[in-house]
Symmetry: C2
Subunit: 561 residues, 2 copies
């Protein structure tokens, strides 16, 4: 990490060096060197990842951190590209997380098809900036086409609708964002702004601000309703947009972790009666981050239509399920949403990081238009005038190419595999005495927990709520330890979170969470992951439940969004 004491002659920053890094060398030898580097990136990294599974190298974080404390920037070059690549392969990769392993089933980050690396390299080599036509030209045109393709996947409007809008400079069917978070923020931004039409002395919330907008419309409170399974980016949006994150209200879920329609309806009726409260949006979830559950979208759409409320669907996870002929029906009702979030770096298997947001109304984004004289002009197809972000890479080129290489059917195969393998996993969990399935997989996500035999008996027999809570407390600690030990061993990885086990509960339980999106994750791998967990349980010093009155639940792990 420290600079070399003596600077080698070829590690000097001068014009000669600079020209070398800008002019891609034309002579055959230098070209071969550069290609060799790419080969190392493609295969050096890959070979490494193939020989290590799960979370890599169990070096403690504190030890690791000690190697990354030098904060000086070297005046002269420290390394050549070849050394940088070698160091990344030898030093960084072994201490990174092997998200590409089929044993890594804990998060929504997974293996990506190898061609994605090529496509990302293409986007970098072209280095177009989608903020404006003058730095992207055909890429802006292509992006509008890709947006229309996705809009059609969601809304399936008539042909003439797409003929009208696909290359229409005045309208906008959606936009690419940095990810689901900025997509959700953008959707709620538009929803917020829709609530405040101009009045005699008021122009817009965008121009005049939230306090003036509320005053002009005689409002005291603006709220957003979403089930307690909502992604934490929605709360963040509430805070950012000046709505207040306490006004992003978590509605209870039913036993399937879907929003409780009866409660939602009552809440909407009650809030609607209050003249000074405005519901900016109701958010439906199509693939909850923790459980994969899907809200009853048609009923939510109906409720929103009745009360003229913006209906946003957060399909960051579930969106691509629409490409599956077998399972697209799970997302029925999504075509009634006013806006829809879908992530590219999740089930479109693109590299970090890209998301999208779509709007039913091609004029919806007019409410957040910003432009600058040196960059964008009204009526141009400059895509940057209706985006939260400014400069943007050509993620649309990557998605479009991937769709051409895979076909919708290629994606469908992966989606179907994930859903069906998750069902298989659920069965395996049920078949084992020492595990308890907590949430059935609707998509490819499920939660479960380890329940050693004596606890199982206790759970089955106890009638006392406080006794059950106490037992859950013991199980929480067991599952926290289990997940940590398995992660530290580094062969496989499941994540953990907290959920209410039963709808009426006042307490959360710790659950293990599994996301099956790697096409190489199969039944035998899942068996091995459960086997390993059983082995770990055998080694753990598990206290008898009757002596566990004073177990502390670790602080600060409560679900926040």
């Amino acid at each position: 990490m420290t600079a070399p004491e003596k600077i080698p002659a070829d590690l000097v920053a001068d014009w000669h060096t600079l020209h070398r890094v800008f002019i891609r060398p034309e002579d055959e030898k230098s070209r071969q060197t550069l290609v060799k580097y790419m080969e190392q990136i493609l295969f050096g990294l890959h070979d490494f990842l193939n020989t290590h599974v799960g979370v890599t190298e169990a070096i403690p974080l504190a030890t690791l951190a000690r190697s990354y404390t030098d904060t000086a920037i070297n005046r002269e070059p420290e390394k050549k590209l070849a050394e940088v690549i070698r160091d990344i392969i030898n030093e960084i990769a072994p201490r990174a997380v092997n998200v590409a392993s089929p044993y890594f089933i804990g998060h929504m980050t997974s293996a990506i098809p190898f061609f994605m690396v090529h496509l990302k390299a293409i986007a970098a080599a072209l280095n177009q900036n989608l903020i404006k036509l003058e730095t992207s030209k055909v890429l802006s045109v292509l992006e509008k086409q890709v947006l229309a393709k996705m809009h059609r996947m969601i809304y399936n409007r008539e042909q003439k609708f797409y003929d009208c809008h696909v290359q229409n400079a005045d309208t906008c069917l959606g936009l690419f964002t940095n990810g689901g978070t900025t997509a959700n923020i953008t959707a709620l931004w538009v929803a917020r702004n829709r609530c405040f039409p101009p009045t005699e002395h008021f122009f817009s919330v965008e121009k005049d601000g939230m306090p003036a907008a509320m005053k002009a419309h005689d409002l005291e409170r603006m709220v957003v309703l979403v089930s307690e399974r909502g992604h934490f980016s929605l709360k963040k949006a509430g805070g950012l947009l000046g709505i207040g994150n306490k006004n992003v209200i978590a509605v209870d879920v039913n036993e399937n972790h879907q929003i409780d329609m009866a409660k939602l309806t009552r809440m909407v009726q009650k809030l609607s009666r209050r003249k000074q409260t405005k519901i900016a949006a109701i958010v439906g979830i199509a693939g909850a981050t923790e459980t994969g559950s899907i809200d009853p979208l048609p009923q939510m759409a109906h409720l929103c239509r009745t009360h003229k409320i913006h209906f946003h669907v957060d399909a960051a996870w579930g969106g691509p399920v629409m490409l599956s002929e077998k399972y697209a029906g799970l997302l029925a009702g999504i075509q009634e949403a006013d806006s829809v979030t879908i992530d590219c770096h999740k089930q479109f298997y693109m590299p970090m990081s890209a998301g999208m947001v779509y709007f039913k109304d091609p004029r919806a984004l007019d409410r957040i238009v910003y432009h600058a004289g040196y960059v964008n002009r009204k009526g141009s197809v400059d895509l940057g005038i209706k985006t939260l972000e400014g400069s943007r890479e050509a993620s649309s080129l990557i998605l479009d190419s991937a769709l051409k290489i895979m076909g919708s059917q290629g994606y469908a195969l992966m989606i179907d595999h994930g859903i069906e393998t998750a069902r298989l996993f659920a069965q395996k969990i049920k078949d084992r005495d020492r595990f308890q399935l907590i949430t059935e997989p609707v998509l490819n996500i499920l939660t479960y927990r380890a329940v050693p035999a004596r606890f199982r008996q206790l759970l089955d027999t106890t009638q006392s709520e406080s006794r059950r809570q106490q037992t859950d407390g013991c199980l929480d600690q067991i599952n926290i330890d289990l997940q940590r030990i398995q992660r530290e061993v580094g062969k496989s990885f499941v994540s953990r979170t907290r959920l209410k086990h039963f709808t009426g509960d006042n307490h959360d339980i710790v659950v293990l969470r599994s996301v099956i999106m790697n096409p190489y994750t199969d039944g035998s791998i899942l068996d091995r992951i459960l086997d390993e967990q059983e082995t770990i349980l055998d080694t753990m010093d598990i206290q008898d439940p009757t002596f566990s009155h004073n177990i502390d639940i670790p602080q600060g792990e409560h679900q926040d969004g």
Copy 2:
């Protein structure tokens, strides 16, 4: 664009195909094929870009758009990777914009060193997600180190400060964002939240929202002050954050396009006397997007300190100038800023898109903490708990590697070249009768306009403001046409914008804008660009100024941020 009528046998989505794209082939032949593709990306694209300069292929946008109207997604694969790459090289690249050309001097997007493509490919191959430690491990640790390096470049605090914070899980020196826009939004988000400490019945603006916060603090209005050269993302931030973009107030500039300190001071004094108005932040610009000008940062810092106002510096463009031993002094005072924005995809020469924001106070970001049970836990080093964005790629690995390959001196060479070449360009413009330099380059940006001889005489002699305005109107149209024709010819590219020529003016003028960041842009290229503009002027049908009463200024090009 349409699907093939007959599907070739190898273009079927099945498990065999799927396995091929996920398993990077191990046999030598398949490996060679994949490497060959990378070679095509590295050199096929490069060879193309070397034979076309400026804005590529003059195919009209409308014609281009007609080829991108099919909105169906093919069920089966349409193309193999090889064909996709070939099509991108043959069909997309020629219709994209060759931002890498040294004749492309119109925007802040330019050539990047070739190794950046390798580094971007590495980030994609590792596909780490910086939102949390469990999907990034060493990359989170490395990112904290890179953030400390940059913080040190800006603030240069004592060694023990960095020893304390470089790997401190509780504090945060800055963060990587998708770009300067989200960096500016994040800075103003923090600044907004700092204005509202808790009161007896109020927790925070983040939780309770803007209307409640204003009420709790008995405020009627919140404002942000920035010069009229401020980037439009600041207005966007005002709208997004519920402050209202009309409350992002544009302060007049002096003749050097720096914020007018006398006016700013008077405005602050006046606003501070109003009990119900709160100045959330004053923004200094270090490298204005249109003129490259730098605000008087030390005086602004002093004013902010006196009035206890958050001082943000938007150094999205100018930040890396701090690496130049020759010109770092231009940014003196930046170390007094509470927050600083710097872009990676601008003068750090990284591919689209990455930015950063830094905070003097390592606790500043505590005001925007969000976390979720399944992802982030309090007190962990999960970097995603204090970011606007969610999932993020490892841009920090790219910046760190680039700094090691280039050294600060390598960057300094490019910075110095840009500034000095811009000065040379200014002299060339002054030396030619038919051009008028509008803004001198402080950094590597200047503006000028074409002024045919008879207009020049008129401008020199007229005393009448209305007559001057009319003449400027004629010149506007000439420069709009000139810029458009040169862009359409496709050999070179300058951009255009609108500015006030003199501080007291009531009207803007159209100016040509040049950004010199490509190390291959030199005096002879700049001569050729001016020669071409003179040739175009010769072919233009320029009306006599005395007959130009009714020239229409095109609508909708006013600067909006």
